[in-house]
């Protein structure tokens, strides 16, 4: 039986284009505010896990030295877009296994260093060497979805409209202006059928959470949520057919998370899922078990995934509106759920929220659905 693990503090900076900030400049304010909200001094932290895809060598050490932290284990975790959540997972395991009582998790990336455009993928990959970029992967998923489900480009655009409507109420979101279906479809084409406003933006961000054992939480009581499930999967290689509408890595991660939490994912009040592109949200409604396979389009159209519906999906605005600084996103999702489950989400508060789920996938690698997938389920601590 492993120990209970709690999130006891959380903070992030507003996502956006912060060209003048160094990586430490982005992350240190989030680290300090997360520690403050956890009523925890830097010197009490026993280990640091830092998720980043493009931060460079020793990103975590370059950040935490500024607040006098050192001597303790600092581990840098790369799992592309899932890096931040993978860092949360490792911190969870370390506490659950009894190694530590207090662990800091940081997620960070600064995408403005690349000057815009698609994420630079690793050239030593058969598909990347032929021109694969992330928008193309999701565009092919979108094309297949439209073909099999008789969906229209306007249906995809509705995902962006909802994301922007949610994000408009989030002061941490990169894009806070609402958009119409016409504006989404009229924006320039990135990878047919996905237009610019159906893609997550390029930006910079940092988020931090403090994880603690029950023993530490009782010593320093305050707002907290318990981690009911923490699951990390890698993609399963296949040389042949893959159903792009049934991404196995998310199905398996969600299934394991349900089992670990001993509750169906359909019971959660809110979800922060990996909407890197509009199509992803529809496919992941089904993969995460929020609706039955084949019903995602109706689920969205009925308003089931916004305020007043069955489950509020991406109350933060999601990656499309809030932004997606790769390694930061998995931690920023946990920050959002922490604020929601502890009643600190302001204008975008999901009333009465007690259960939240986060989901990030990572990467474009040949013969894999995705490289990494992380799913967490949280419950407000009473």
């Amino acid at each position: 039986m492993s120990d209970d693990v709690y999130v006891v503090g959380a903070a992030m900076i507003p996502m956006g284009r912060h060209r003048d900030s160094s990586h430490a400049g982005l992350a240190v304010p989030a680290v300090l505010d997360a520690l403050a909200s956890a009523r925890t001094a830097p010197k009490s932290v026993e280990a640091v896990y830092c998720g980043t895809a493009f931060g460079g060598m020793l990103t975590g050490q370059r950040i935490v030295k500024h607040v006098g932290m050192g001597g303790i284990p600092v581990l840098n975790v790369d799992n592309a877009c899932s890096g931040g959540a993978s860092a949360v997972h490792e911190a969870y395991r370390a506490i659950a296994d009894g190694h530590y009582d207090v662990v800091l998790v940081v997620g960070i990336d600064k995408l403005t260093q690349f000057g815009g455009g698609t994420l630079p993928l690793v050239g030593e990959d058969w598909e990347v060497s032929q021109g694969m970029v992330m928008p193309a992967l999701y565009a092919m998923r979108a094309r297949r979805y439209m073909h099999e489900r008789d969906a229209k480009p306007a249906d995809l655009a509705e995902v962006s409209v909802k994301a922007r409507r949610h994000g408009a109420r989030n002061p941490y979101a990169q894009y806070r202006k609402e958009v119409t279906v016409e504006e989404v479809l009229g924006s320039r084409m990135i990878a047919d059928p996905l237009t610019l406003l159906q893609c997550c933006p390029t930006g910079d961000g940092a988020a931090a959470v403090v994880l603690a054992s029950d023993r530490h939480r009782r010593r320093s009581p305050g707002p907290a949520m318990r981690i009911r499930a923490s699951v990390l999967h890698s993609g399963t290689p296949t040389a042949g057919f893959r159903d792009m509408l049934r991404p196995e890595i998310t199905y398996q991660s969600a299934s394991d998370a349900q089992e670990q939490a001993a509750l169906p994912t359909s019971e959660v009040d809110l979800v922060e899922l990996h909407d890197a592109f509009t199509i992803a949200e529809l496919v992941y409604y089904e993969a995460l078990g929020l609706c039955a396979p084949g019903e995602s389009l109706d689920f969205l159209r009925r308003g089931s995934t916004t305020y007043g519906g069955d489950v509020v999906v991406n109350p933060s605005g999601g990656l499309i509106s809030k932004g997606h600084p790769v390694g930061a996103s998995g931690v920023a999702q946990v920050v959002e759920v922490f604020w929601q489950l502890t009643g600190q989400a302001g204008d975008r508060q999901v009333q009465g929220a007690r259960l939240g789920l986060t989901h990030v996938t990572g990467g474009g690698v040949s013969n894999l659905d995705h490289g990494a997938c992380t799913v967490h389920i949280f419950e407000a601590a009473s």
């Binding site: 690349f114 455009g117 698609t118 994420l119 630079p120 993928l121 050239g123 030593e124 990959d125 058969w126 598909e127 990347v128 060497s129 032929q130 021109g131 694969m132 970029v133 928008p135 193309a136 565009a139 092919m140 998923r141 979108a142 094309r143 297949r144 073909h147 099999e148 320039r188 084409m189 990135i190 990878a191 047919d192 059928p193 996905l194 290689p237 296949t238 040389a239 042949g240 057919f241 893959r242 792009m244 040949s366 013969n367």
Partner: protein, 152 residues
């Protein structure tokens, strides 16, 4: 040269001696895009891959270890030149190649799936159309939609 398959690599302690030096290989088909095609003696272009002698899996492009069972008993195998387009997209923004270009997943009749450049009239494209391999004089390859009269 010893049997190099992982399945038969178990060794008793008594027989442990100096082990053969583990050497790198140049590539596992992760960069060799243009070497994935060959023109057969009859003039027809074919995608080239590897067939696993242990589990029978077919992989494109050629590699030296089976991604299904990790056996190294692989043989060069022709993977055919026709298939069905699963999905596709014309890319207008890219960090890896001049734009625009069209990519698609092709499910080969031989059972393998390849990502490929799609050329020809994009108006003919939709999921599930038949496509065939086309090889340029510079050895570059792509798939193009098969016209109705061609397939009849």
């Amino acid at each position: 040269m010893g049997d190099s398959s992982i399945a038969t690599a178990s060794t008793t302690l008594a027989s442990l001696g100096a082990q053969p030096i583990t050497q790198p290989v140049p590539d596992l088909g992760d960069r060799t895009v243009n070497s994935a095609v060959d023109v057969e003696p009859d003039g027809s272009p074919q995608l080239v891959g590897s067939r696993c002698g242990s589990c029978g899996a077919l992989m494109v492009p050629e590699t030296f270890v089976c991604s299904s069972c990790a056996s190294r008993q692989l043989q060069r195998a022709l993977a055919g030149s026709s298939g069905t387009l699963y999905s596709y997209s014309t890319v207008h923004v890219s960090s890896s190649r001049p734009t625009p270009y069209t990519l698609g997943y092709v499910d080969l009749d031989s059972g393998s799936r390849v990502l490929a450049t799609i050329t020809g009239d994009t108006d003919l494209l939709r999921p599930d159309v038949r496509v065939r391999l086309s090889v340029g004089s510079d050895h570059s390859w792509s798939f193009i939609a098969v016209q109705e009269e061609e397939s009849s």
